[in-house]
Symmetry: C2
Subunit: 367 residues, 2 copies
């Protein structure tokens, strides 16, 4: 049993669940005849990345040039950096573009000009379209701006226009409503249609690339989409359960935390497991309470998804305070282990910097 071999907060990864998640999404892409370019920002791990290869994946998405370098070092040859170009990274971008198919994201003419003047090797550019999240991207009706950006791209021989890229991040605000997720997806497919009508004569090979785990998990068809880029689905998390993207059983990660104190008079249990282990994303529960993680029982085979009602109510740097009931506080002892399903597995992985498989094997990550 894994708990005999760990001594501190440990990020458990259930490889079987993870492989099921990868398999499900790869199969959905295959059935729909759309490209599958998974986002690797969630796991940030060479080892987990290699698991995708057995499902035929040879193109990936990352969220920074640093992460592109990390995965290029493990042999990935076709990488999209799905974050607007930062020209100060020109030296590193050039080094990557020299050795692999590098796809970058632009949201302004200025960035295209900066890139055009500094890049010595062929680079493909996606224009990000803002489908309603209002983080980055061009609003789809702004044809003058899209035309201006395309003009600037065409001005530089090393730059090629690949297509339009979207991230329906507003789907993360949905709670337990698959219809609402479908509606967001449908809206984005309409945008795809409009953009293709306008631009596919001039750019017959243009790709419309759609990201985000909620829509990719819930939608069954993707008419007008050429590529999907979900990332979080590899592990899922408690937020995705709340959105309606997955079931609790699909969650592939849990943090094992040792109990260090119990407070019966407060109905609270304190574990070693704080902001440096979970990061600090939280979720408002249906009753109005704020949860920093759902507490589960660890078992011989991993963890039970049976509802304990316990959740992390607050986090400081190393402490996690769990809300429990009278019986739980009485029965759980200092030295016991509890599992915590993270609210946001991407950020938990980012701070934990490594995984432990249920067979005890350690898996490293980008540092």
């Amino acid at each position: 049993m894994i708990l005999q071999n760990i001594s501190e907060p440990t990020f458990l990864l259930d490889k079987q669940k993870c492989l099921s998640n990868i398999s499900m999404m790869a199969e959905k892409a295959r059935k729909n005849n759309v490209g599958f370019r998974p986002h690797f920002k969630t796991h940030q791990s060479h080892e987990v990345g290699r698991w995708f290869r057995s499902f035929g994946v040879d193109k990936i998405t990352v969220s920074s040039v640093k992460m592109a370098e990390y995965f290029a070092n493990d042999g990935w040859k076709d990488i999209t950096v799905a974050f607007p170009v930062n020209i100060h990274e020109k030296v590193r971008i050039n080094r990557l573009a020299e050795k692999l198919i590098l796809n970058l994201l632009v949201v302004s003419s200025e960035a295209v000009d900066q890139l055009g003047k500094e890049i010595q090797y062929p680079v493909n550019l996606f224009i990000e379209i803002d489908t309603g999240y209002h983080r980055t991207g061009i609003v789809p009706e702004d044809f003058p701006l899209l035309d201006a950006i395309l003009n600037r791209i065409n001005a530089y021989p090393h730059l090629s226009f690949s297509g339009f890229l979207t991230h329906d991040g507003h789907s993360y605000k949905i709670r337990n409503d698959k219809n609402a997720i479908h509606n967001i997806c449908q809206h984005t497919l309409t945008i795809s249609k409009t953009l293709k009508q306008k631009y596919s004569t001039e750019y017959p090979d243009l790709i419309f690339s759609l990201g985000d785990t909620p829509t990719c998990s819930v939608a069954e068809t993707f008419n007008g989409v050429d590529e999907i880029r979900p990332g979080n689905f590899v592990f899922y998390d408690f937020t995705q359960v709340a959105i309606g993207s997955c079931t609790l059983e699909q969650l592939a990660v849990a943090l094992a935390c040792p109990v260090v104190a119990t407070y019966p008079e407060r109905n609270e249990i304190v574990v070693h497991g704080g902001a440096v282990h979970f990061s600090k994303d939280n979720l408002v529960l249906p009753g109005g309470a704020t949860s920093f993680g759902k507490v589960v029982r660890l078992t011989n085979g991993g963890w039970s998804t049976e509802d304990t009602g316990m959740y992390i109510k607050s986090l400081s740097q190393e402490h996690g305070i769990i809300q429990a009931d009278k019986n739980q506080v009485k029965n759980i002892k200092v030295g016991d282990w509890l599992g915590v399903l993270p609210v946001h597995s991407c950020l938990t992985a980012d701070v934990m910097k490594g995984y432990r498989l249920l067979n005890g094997e350690a898996i490293s990550m980008m540092r």
Copy 2:
């Protein structure tokens, strides 16, 4: 100028401001004739730790056994782990106790018994007292529990009782009110008096150790306190400014972030600088808006503390969205750099895993 040598989000550390902060606190401890055992969980760096040595510091506080190991490897010989004992770390605790003065924290008789049975080398124990934060610790009136814990400590030859340790974490809820901070400190000093009256006959050398940056920054005297353990003061942060612990000029760290997009119609600027750079602590501003960091102008000598009014209104994994005004969005260009004063420097340091001094020198951290 530092910006010519960086290409990605970079955690700038102004060494002069940092040394001033250390000097101020070391001098306050000296004047009050109390021990100074700074908490190193904020900087987590061998190099920054060495700066304390020139101020006579030879005893430190850390928040985990892992951190104790890291600083032991740089020659620190007297370390308090100010987090309740997790007995699963017994092998590592034994290894540390063999080679240095190790002070641990207990909050239950169970933990003392677990430790007593497993420890082969002398270890000093502090009992944590809950002065009102209600995270961990024994409520000071619970003499039966304190007596029970002391009895268990006395049952094991390798365990020695060192005294009582407090962390006035409730001081972090205060906003711009030095009197309120004084009141919390006074309350803790009263607790010290009561506990010493009760226990100093039997334990004449018992230490009362007080932590937290707000009270240590604001209080001028510490009657009844034998040791102070502030940590955050080494850098301070935007939360400490809001509490009233320090001025904006005392902040020793800022994150340099490149601008990657501007949205005049939304009055927003997007930088590369997200949850993986800042972590996700936030602060409610006086007007009710939520800030994930205060935006400042970078200068040749570091950064200006002049109020720009700009702040980070939301963070995703790599993106930071800055609320700005019309003129700012017009004048700030893609490719410019902005500085961000972190809401919580401990967590920002923990995710950034390294610093850059203003002379360009890189400083490493625990990994």
